[in-house]
């Protein structure tokens, strides 16, 4: 193949990464923005989404698309419920102290990983895509499901956008983000907002995982890379800024695709991690965030 088609292939792979990443990262960013909690267990919520998708698609008979849709509905709900429980049982009792919550979510990460290893096992297992549709380009063929992933991610992101900007719940979340004490003084139940935000963030990670699992397989250690990349995206995009997060996910996803294709995936990750460290050191508000 010539350079052009190679680049096209890299960009298409990058688009899929960017779509999945923006969902997971928006979840992480919401949690950080509203609650000021750095959730290290976010990658495990992602992994749980994929693992639950494997269980659900195995249990539900009928056509693949039906089982897949069921997984897409059930996995985020279950993971969201788990996150809400973790918030009520652990984070709330720590008073959302930033450093203590990081340590606690590290503990949560280990516990979830072990649970997945014990109940699901160490193997990577595939989940059937909801449909088989092959797109044949002049130079190479690719699975049409990848376009579906990008489309579904865009729809979900628009839904989050609507939720945050057009609904009462979003207004309440934004009010809590700006000033938790004043929000409480106005009669907002901040505890419930936090619990809901944490569940929503985890649910988005789980949804992203369900979307990507037919391409990548479910494995108990699969949460590591999404966590790292989500961190990178959220920090480059500016902590707590949704628009910045999506832009950063596009940049990181596409450049990850291109660098991985032409050089090596490891090199791509080294560059991205160093970039994010430098951004935090020299431009802590993120590349797209406004200085506050």
């Amino acid at each position: 193949m010539a350079f052009g088609p190679f680049l096209l292939l890299a960009l298409m792979e990058g688009m899929v990464t960017a779509a999945v990443l923006s969902l997971a990262a928006v979840g992480l960013s919401l949690v950080f923005g509203v609650m000021r909690v750095v959730n290290v267990a976010h990658g495990e919520f992602f992994m749980l989404g994929a693992v639950i998708a494997w269980f659900v698609t195995g249990m539900i008979p009928g056509p693949p698309w039906l089982a897949f849709l069921a997984a897409l509905a059930i996995a985020p709900l279950l993971v969201g419920a788990l996150a809400a429980a973790a918030d009520g049982l652990i984070l709330k009792r720590l008073n959302y102290d930033p450093e203590a919550t990081i340590v606690a979510t590290i503990g949560l990460m280990y516990m979830i990983q072990q649970a997945a290893l014990t109940f699901y096992g160490p193997d990577a297992r595939p989940v059937l895509a909801p449909f088989e549709w092959r797109v044949q380009l002049p130079w190479f063929g690719t699975s049409g499901y990848k376009f579906f992933v990008v489309g579904a991610a865009i729809l979900l992101l628009l839904a989050v956008w609507q939720l945050m900007t057009r609904t009462k719940a979003g207004l309440v979340m934004r009010a809590t983000q700006v000033d938790r004490d004043t929000a409480r003084a106005f009669g907002i139940n901040v505890d419930r907002v936090y619990m809901g935000t944490f569940a929503l963030g985890a649910g988005l990670a789980a949804a992203a995982a369900v979307l990507v699992v037919p391409i990548s397989q479910a494995h108990y250690l699969m949460g590591h890379d999404p966590l790292l990349l989500s961190f990178i995206v959220v920090i480059i995009g500016g902590l707590g800024s949704l628009r910045g997060t999506v832009i950063a996910a596009l940049i990181i996803g596409l450049s990850d695709g291109v660098i991985s294709m032409f050089f090596s995936p490891t090199l791509a990750k080294i560059l991205a991690t160093l970039l994010v460290a430098m951004v935090l050191v020299f431009r802590p508000q993120g590349l797209f965030g406004a200085r506050t």
Binding site: V38, I90, R93, L94, P98, E99, A100, I102, V103, A104, I106, G107, L108, M109, Y110, M111, I112, Q113, Q114, A115, L117, T118, L228, F231, I232, I235, S264, T266, L267, K269, I270, T273, L274, V276, A277, M278, L280, V281, F282, P284
Partner: protein
């Protein structure tokens, strides 16, 4: 001699006696615990005393491990210079990382150190033809010899680990009881007030981080030479979490917290893995339980209750 010094010397003597008299299974365990305890003691200087919550200490540990292991593997260095180079590498790495990371504080500092450590671990994998990558490499037997003592035998291995830990522990005790030790605590408690008193926070924190890096580097180098293996898994996030876990369990801001936490955690994982293979669950549950119910750790609790002067 002060009561504190007597206590620390007694702990060291008890550890030495235990290592020499217990069956060889425990001697090997103790050697491993003391190497990890050296790592944790250094971590405690940064985290417990100065309030620098780093998630990147695996990078200093691995720097020591590879700086000792690679010359031994590629050029047949012997243990003494390898150990020195490893210690220096830990400090140098901490200096380089600290110069950048200490421009941030709190949560940003945690993430920046985590990212640096991640980049370092990936770099080890990237140059896998030279570092052995994921599989790591075995340290040649010729290098595992310090002043005529074979490091692959149980008792000499334990004695070397104990000696390193003893030096580290007494140095830490002297450090925290010195004037600079008070500066460290002042920075943890209130950085602005410390600055007002004429302390340069950046320089002081950098110094602590480099000292902490020396401990981590020495521990990493010793781990490679004593147990004969170096691998990229030691650069992973888990090896940044472990010293934090030990210190939180034993007591952040106590000199003996690192060794107490390392010992307890080691045997707790041993017991847990004989009952179930869910050792990760144990680590996670202990972490969550500690931040929820005992944020000061065992010795921190004892200090609050019985002995306010415990260093």
């Amino acid at each position: 001699m002060s009561r504190a010094l007597v206590l620390h010397l007694a702990v060291l003597a008890a550890l030495l006696a235990a290592g020499l008299m217990l069956p060889s299974y425990h001697t090997t365990n103790l050697a491993r615990i003391l190497v990890l305890a050296t790592f944790a003691t250094g971590y405690n200087l940064a985290f417990g005393y100065t309030g620098l919550l780093s998630l990147g200490h695996a990078m200093f540990f691995a720097a020591g491990m590879y700086a000792a292991g690679l010359p031994a593997w590629h050029w047949g260095w012997s243990a003494a210079p390898a150990l020195l180079l490893g210690t220096a590498a830990g400090g140098a790495m901490a200096l380089a990382a600290g110069l950048l990371a200490l421009r941030t504080a709190g949560v940003s500092f945690m993430i920046v150190t985590l990212m640096f450590a991640q980049a370092f671990a990936l770099t080890l994998l990237y140059f896998n033809s030279w570092t052995g990558g994921d599989e790591g490499f075995v340290i040649p037997a010729t290098a595992r010899n310090l002043f005529g003592l074979s490091l692959s035998a149980d008792t000499p291995r334990f004695v070397i680990a104990w000696a390193m830990f003893a030096i580290g522990l007494l140095a830490a005790l002297a450090l925290v009881r010195s004037r600079f030790g008070r500066v460290m605590v002042a920075l943890r408690e209130n950085e602005e007030r410390a600055r007002m008193l004429g302390i340069n926070p950046f320089a002081a924190k950098l110094r602590v981080l480099v000292i902490s890096g020396f401990y981590a580097g020495a521990a990493g180098a010793a781990y490679a030479l004593l147990f004969g293996y170096a691998g990229a898994s030691f650069a992973g996030t888990q090896y940044s979490i472990l010293p934090m876990l030990y210190v939180l369990l034993g007591g952040a801001g106590t000199v003996l917290g690192g060794v107490l936490g390392a010992g307890l955690m080691f045997y707790l994982t041993e017991v847990a893995s004989s009952l179930t293979d869910a050792w990760m669950f144990v680590i996670g549950a202990v972490l969550v339980g500690l931040v929820l119910f005992a944020p000061k750790g065992i010795l921190g609790w004892l200090r609050g209750k019985f002995w306010r002067g415990l260093p």
